[in-house]
């Protein structure tokens, strides 16, 4: 199960990419605002290393990992620390996932049922991470508020799922800054109760782009339950060869 944690990387990269282009003051319709942000992410390839902290009222666990991504479909994540977990990895290619555990020296293809489960230890679910362009397709978008924050305008965009879209949330809200940094993503259930919030902080230049260095998913009912992911390093590449997204690389990740 631990392997699934690597997928937390994806939204972080998504957020990162979304905020990658520093736009001017815009007056876009809501859907275009979201699309504009999303388009900047699409197609990018990246290599990053990050530290993930799962915090609970009684305990806390920290892992470090390397991640290679290409577009919003392909990703491979390998744990580098602590030593106990080193070498555990997950590969995502399209809709399929594999995990590798060095102790049993075996690559296991994850059954689809497992992929739709929330990962047990953390506050990210697989569906939080694998959403790709569903954020454009499955929702209707509406700017409900413009907030002046220092020199920036922050748009509060409400996302309402289309009736038959496979989305569990009642509504979602995005806080998008006018330079396309997504500051916050709020998930509401169908009674309008806030369930969890993804907060982006420490926005700075990373890999040549303006990105949130730290992203935290917090459970609304208990602020002591959160998962924090912070970038230690990040670089963007124009392309990433196929060999990274193979089972062989998962077993033996030599960059």
């Amino acid at each position: 199960m631990r392997a699934n944690t690597r997928h937390r990387v994806i939204p972080i990269l998504f957020l990162a990419a979304v905020s990658a282009s520093a736009g001017a003051e815009v007056m876009l319709p809501a859907v275009d605002l979201v699309r504009a942000a999303f388009e900047h992410y699409r197609g990018a390839a990246s290599f990053g290393s990050m530290r993930m902290t799962i915090h609970r009222p009684g305990w806390e666990r920290t892992q470090e990992m390397d991640a290679w991504t290409r577009g919003d479909k392909d990703a491979v994540v390998i744990i580098t620390a602590p030593v106990r977990d080193r070498g555990n990895g997950t590969l995502k290619r399209g809709d399929q996932m594999w995990t590798f555990n060095p102790r049993i020296n075996r690559v296991i293809k994850l059954p689809p049922s497992l992929m739709s489960q929330a990962w047990m230890g953390s506050d990210f679910s697989y569906h939080d991470l694998a959403r790709s362009d569903t954020i454009l397709v499955d929702y209707t978008h509406e700017i409900v508020e413009r907030i002046q924050d220092g020199g920036h305008t922050v748009y509060r965009v409400r996302l309402t799922p289309r009736p038959d879209a496979p989305v569990v949330w009642g509504t979602e809200e995005l806080l998008i800054r006018d330079d396309f940094v997504v500051l916050e993503e709020r998930y509401f259930d169908q009674d309008g109760r806030l369930v969890k919030t993804l907060v982006a902080t420490e926005i700075e230049m990373l890999g040549g782009r303006l990105l949130p260095r730290v992203s935290t998913m917090v459970q609304a009912d208990d602020p002591e339950r959160f998962t924090r992911v912070e970038y230690l390093a990040l670089e963007f590449r124009d392309a990433m060869p196929d060999r990274y997204f193979t089972e062989a690389f998962l077993r033996n990740p030599r960059d």
Partner: protein, 406 residues
């Protein structure tokens, strides 16, 4: 003549006789009532098992029973339909369902379930489903409605009108996801059922999984469970084994069948236990009746009665006692079973425990004629056997020994 004497002898000590009579009555009552209780429980278990989407007979694709995946489905639906139409006995009902493993998701959780596509109208009288909807309108007018068990709904923190997302594997092996709206909530006897099964319309599921008109199972409910093997045999002859598998309820829920079969044995064991307890009292009181009449037995021996005559007399006395006791016990049991059979015995206070065994919350005892016969028979036959001991003792008394007896 002998009978009259035996009857009078019995009532020379009315209190002693009444006490032992009471023991026999209570014993017979306990035997019959236990059998009736078990029988009621088993009948309910069978009813529940059949209603739990099992039916008396099912037609499935080969391999579906062992591994219920979407690939193991009946593709030739028309053949089964024709066979059922022409071969089923009067009064039989059937419906078809499509089942698949699925994951149901809400904002508060994701759980593995079995999604069953049903024809809501046809489920009436076939399964528990039709009578179990406690909230909402069910599936009747909602193409993308979902019927969810109470317990699962609590886990998902959802209620009627909310959306749930279902992920399942379609015919081509791809994962398909779709939003459904909760249009009904059902209660089942067992909480595990509520957590395991969710229902939608069959056509909706067929479209979602891209299986055309294919189904997983045809379920048949017969007027009587006993007809199952015969019906299954006829269907097996018509439907080729390569494409279809015909199963009876005994094959689908074997533990219920095993319980039913062992019921008579349980009842017999219980009867023997009750009888052993009763036998000590019986032997004791007959023995006392013999010992206090030593001089009397000596006298009648001297008058020319054979030892066998004496033995017969004592046994006849016991027989009178047993007949009256068995009749009284049966009568008492009949009254109890009749009353409780109407009101039921409520176990809901212990439902958490009984559910574990798959038992009902309310048990309606029902006694068969054989239960009475078995109880009365056990008491009478074994009672006579144990009374032989004091009877033989009485038969051995000689006039000389009796005179010496004080």
């Amino acid at each position: 003549m002998n009978l009259t004497i035996a009857w009078r002898n019995l009532w020379r000590h009315p209190r002693r006789t009444l006490v032992i009579l009471l023991a026999v009555i209570v014993g017979v009552w306990a035997m019959v009532f236990y059998a009736a209780f078990i029988r009621g429980m088993m009948a309910d278990m069978l009813r529940q098992g059949i209603a739990n989407l099992t039916g008396h007979v099912q037609v499935q694709a080969p391999g579906f029973f062992e591994n219920p995946v979407i690939d193991a489905r009946i593709r030739d639906v028309a053949t089964v339909r024709d066979a059922l139409g022409s071969l089923l006995p009067e009064g039989a009902r059937w419906t078809s369902r499509l089942r698949t493993g699925a994951v149901v998701r809400s904002p508060h959780g994701a759980y593995g379930v079995t999604l069953v596509g049903v024809d809501p109208a046809a489920e009436h009288g076939m399964s528990f489903l039709a009578d179990s909807v406690t909230e909402g309108s069910g599936l009747a007018n909602a193409p993308h409605g979902l019927l969810v068990g109470r317990a699962l709904l609590v886990k998902l923190e959802a209620r009627t009108g909310h959306r749930l997302v279902i992920d399942a594997q379609d015919a081509s092996g791809q994962i398909v996801s779709r939003a459904f709206v909760i249009t009904g909530v059902y209660r089942a006897q067992l909480e595990t059922t509520e957590k395991q099964l969710i229902f939608c319309r069959r056509e909706t599921l067929q479209r979602m999984l891209g299986v055309g008109g294919d189904v997983s199972e045809f379920s048949i409910v017969l007027p009587a469970a006993e007809e199952s093997p015969a019906v299954a045999r006829t269907l097996r002859e018509r439907l080729p084994e390569s494409a279809f598998r015909v199963l009876t309820w005994r094959e689908m829920i074997p533990f219920v069948g095993a319980y039913l079969d062992s019921m008579t044995v349980y009842a017999l064991i219980w009867n023997v236990i009750v009888f052993v307890a009763m036998a000590f009292g019986l032997v004791n009181s007959v023995l006392m009746a013999v010992f206090e009449r030593v001089r009397e037995f000596g006298l009648v021996r001297a008058l020319g009665i054979t030892p066998f005559g004496i033995l017969g007399g004592v046994v006849l006395e016991t027989a009178c006692l047993l007949v009256v006791g068995a009749a009284g016990g049966s009568l008492l049991a009949a009254v109890t079973v009749e009353t409780l059979g109407r009101t039921g015995i409520d176990f809901s206070a212990f439902s958490a425990g009984t559910e574990y065994f798959g038992l009902a919350r309310i048990v309606y005892p029902e006694a068969a004629a054989s239960d009475y016969a078995l109880a009365a028979g056990t008491v009478f036959v074994l009672g006579l056997l144990v009374s032989l001991y004091p009877a033989v003792k009485a038969a051995r008394i000689t006039p000389v020994a009796a005179m010496a007896h004080v």
